[in-house]
């Protein structure tokens, strides 16, 4: 079955505080927000970033913005200057999250109300 990238239905921005990266994610279409909440769980994000984020991940929901904020600890290889990564500030963590693939049928079923 066909998959598509999260970026098709969501947009994001990422920032840093020390070794903590935060990625905020918003539904492009407000109608997709419920699906995003059920799909983009902490477990799924943890698995996606398993070799990149070493610490805890917390998800905050902001329903009024149709968005969520993922706060990821020990996520930037040491933080600003200690990190040897090219992107020490994690500006591309947002787009890295947008690579998560969504199963098209699962998405369409959810939209039709066939919730599991």
């Amino acid at each position: 079955m066909e998959n598509f990238y999260l970026k098709e239905i969501a947009h994001s921005r990422s920032g840093d505080k020390g070794n903590i990266s935060n990625v905020c994610v918003f539904a492009r279409d407000p109608k997709d927000y419920d699906f995003l909440k059920s799909f983009l769980t902490v477990e799924r994000v943890k698995k996606h970033f398993e070799n990149i984020v070493k610490g805890e991940i917390i998800r905050y929901e902001v329903d009024s913005l149709k968005g969520m904020n993922f706060v990821m600890y020990e996520a930037l290889g040491g933080g600003a200057t200690l990190s040897l990564r090219l992107d020490t500030l994690g500006k591309s963590m947002g787009s890295a999250l947008m690579r998560i693939e969504i199963n098209k049928k699962e998405y369409e079923d959810y939209r039709k109300g066939v919730k599991k």
Binding site: R13, N22, F26, D63, G77, T81, L82
Partner: protein, 457 residues
């Protein structure tokens, strides 16, 4: 009589930002205030290092250049300019602003400035008195790194800036004022909000949060629809129009960019952790129910921001020497660019082992493939095999400068001595200082901030 409105622009997003939008908004923004944030987490440490080499450095010279361009016009239009451009050398920034004012014969120009956030000299005494300055990330005591401390600056809030404005300052320059305090202070000064008016204080802080990164609120770094942003070459920066009851974010119509629901949504959670508890020296803001809605083209209303009591302690950010690092690059072309780049990295690692490199950390990436998205990058075999070019990057971190230097001369020779078809670019790498950040807290009453005015005759 119409309701009082205060118009305040965000003129800079960081130290090194373009001055164009600041100049545009002074000319065309009908501003009452322009606030310019120059300081990110590491900036104070970098400025302190500059000051150690040159006692007249250590502030954001770019701010002086902006004043040279539009300081006179701002003075004539009575636009007050507020900035934390003073960095670790507020006094020298004041001298330079005074020079600009004198060059332009701005008689009666009042320069407000705030001193007291720089605790570098007091730190040893405070430690002797028993303050441990526990690292809030890992619980260590500051005494562990006391010989490597580079800078120590307190994030402070609105009060000393308001005091400068009350005394008629045309420009206010500070050290480590919290970014958003640069915006809250003029709003509190204008509206006379009480210290217990938590919701309005939080609203002022969030105006600051939305404006302090400049173009990020008006179409820059915009994931939602970057192609739809007109004239990014003259991107306007955000401007807030604030009344007693309403908050609008907009921009000048002489600039490029857009202010939309989505440009502001992406910025409002930027570098926020818990949206219900966004901690600043002035307030704990609650944006967990914030509403962002388009009012008219390039004008967005922000509603439903709440505030909670401010924290007891102030954040003290200490920078310290934490070793050295070197980043090196070498570019390979098709065919088999990735394979060749990997082979080259392997050669360097073998050489470094033979030369007994003592590194704290070594990292190998391949630009074009996985240097940004790391382990989640697409490494599909066909894609990888057909890469037109790949840049090998090796970065090392060491404790001594001499260790760091070992890798530098080894890269360029691979053009002749390694796999075929590589191109060395950018010149030999330089050793960079690594600065560690030590986040900690200090009781408010230990910090003595002063507000001062220098009037240009």
């Amino acid at each position: 009589m119409s309701e009082k409105e205060v118009v305040i622009g965000g003129g800079q997003g960081f130290w090194g930002d373009s001055p164009d939008a600041a100049i545009d908004m002074i000319k065309h923004g009908n501003l009452d205030y322009m606030s310019c944030d120059f300081l990110a987490e590491l900036t104070m440490s970098i400025m302190q290092r500059q000051k150690n080499k040159n006692p007249k450095a250590g502030y954001a010279r770019d701010f002086i250049n902006i004043l040279r361009e539009v300081g006179k016009e701002a003075f004539e239009k009575n636009i007050k300019i507020i900035s934390n451009a003073g960095g670790v050398n507020v006094e020298e920034a004041v001298n330079q602003i005074k020079n600009v004012a004198e060059e332009n014969s701005l008689r009666g120009y009042k320069i407000g400035y705030v001193l007291g956030d720089n605790l570098l000299e007091q730190l040893p005494k405070l430690m002797d008195e028993g303050y441990e300055f526990i690292n809030s990330d890992d619980g260590r005591k500051l005494s562990e790194i006391k010989d490597s401390i580079l800078n120590a600056n307190v994030y402070f809030g609105k009060e000393p800036i308001i005091a400068c404005l009350q005394r008629g300052a045309n420009v206010v320059v500070t050290g480590r004022a919290a970014d958003s305090a640069l915006f809250l202070a003029p709003l509190m000064h204008e509206f006379g909000w009480d210290n217990n008016d938590y919701d309005n204080i939080a609203r002022g802080i969030m105006v600051g949060h939305l404006l302090e990164c400049g173009g990020q609120a008006s179409g820059g770094n915009y994931d939602y629809d970057w192609r739809g942003i007109p004239n990014m070459d003259q991107l306007g920066f955000p401007i807030a129009k604030v009344t007693e009851n309403q908050t609008f974010i907009t921009k000048t119509n002489t600039s490029g960019g857009r202010v939309t629901e989505q440009t502001l949504k992406e910025q409002i959670l930027y570098e926020v952790h818990d949206p219900a508890n966004y901690i600043t020296p002035d307030i704990v803001a609650d944006i967990s129910n914030v509403e962002v809605s388009e009012f008219s083209k390039d004008c967005v209303e922000i509603k439903n921001i709440k505030g909670k009591k401010r924290p007891e302690n102030l954040k003290l950010s200490i920078g310290y020497h934490a070793g050295y690092k070197v980043e090196t690059y070498l570019c390979y072309a098709w065919p088999d660019a990735y394979e060749k780049a990997q082979y080259a990295a392997d050669i360097i690692i073998k050489k470094m082992k033979r030369k007994n490199l003592k590194a704290e950390d070594i990292r190998i990436d391949f630009l074009g493939l996985n240097a940004l998205h790391l382990d989640v990058a697409n490494m599909d075999k066909n894609l990888v095999r057909n890469m037109n070019e790949v840049v090998m990057r090796i970065a090392i971190r060491t404790l001594s400068k001499d260790e760091a230097k070992k890798i530098i001369p080894e890269i360029a020779p691979l053009q002749l001595n390694g796999p075929p078809g590589s191109s060395f670019f950018g010149g030999r790498s330089a050793v960079q200082d690594v600065i560690g950040l030590w986040p900690t807290f200090i009781p408010r009453n230990m910090v003595n901030l002063t507000s001062n005015i220098l009037e240009v005759k």
